[in-house]
Symmetry: C2
Subunit: 123 residues, 2 copies
Amino acid sequence: MSGTSRDLAHPDTADLALTDVLFALSDPSRLAIVRSLVEGPIEVAACQPAGAEIPKSTLSHHLKTLREAGVVRNVPHGRQRYVSLRRGDLDERFPGLLAAVLGSVREETDTPMREEVDAAENG
Amino acid sequence: MSGTSRDLAHPDTADLALTDVLFALSDPSRLAIVRSLVEGPIEVAACQPAGAEIPKSTLSHHLKTLREAGVVRNVPHGRQRYVSLRRGDLDERFPGLLAAVLGSVREETDTPMREEVDAAENG
DNA sequence: CTCATGGTTCGACAATAGTTGAACAGTGAG
DNA sequence: CTCACTGTTCAACTATTGTCGAACCATGAG
């Protein structure tokens, strides 16, 4: 019944540490992964940045860092795995943090242009 | 002329990188420093955590990391130096980020105990 | 079962970051 | 000027991270 070894450990929402979360998000590769996750859960393989294939082990390592910090959830899905953003948990523990980080990401990629920010409110 | 070597380099607001800021804030010592700065500019010596004196060089190093990430400003003030939070600049570049981080800090320090949170509102 | 697939874990190495004492530099006081 | 005081920079060392190949594991297909 219970868990096979395929279930990975995830920290409880109450145990999330701000510094761990910030650290997990402070790496460009990992921040890119998180950005990919905004649109919804995806398989591990789909976390790879377009046009730059990194080794499976490296990707898995980054995913582990994000998972242990409580930023993402990694669950078995058939032969693959689904990686998802723990948005609700993060928002509960650190209100506004994820929104600020995700909102700022586009300014990092694109460039400023204040007017564009307004359009982002849509949803 | 004006600028002597006493002026340290600070990144321009437009050049602030999200990952650098997150990294700078991901260290407990540095996050503590930032918390001290919320109430206003203080001298370098006052950045030290109460009850735990760290070497001058170590403190200076952390301040450098924060400064180069654009989180704090470090300006000469007589024989000392004033360290201040670049709140406006950070807010302009990464809206809501600092507020989220600072707001979350107290949950990091205090401990859970849901009931206590309510009591905190009291004056 | 056997095989191919999707990912994690292990182990080794390179790179980056944290810690700290000592040297150095600018400033105010006498 | 000389001295005491604040804080930065330098250099060396340690510890933590990032990277990646190879081994390993669970699952689904045939």
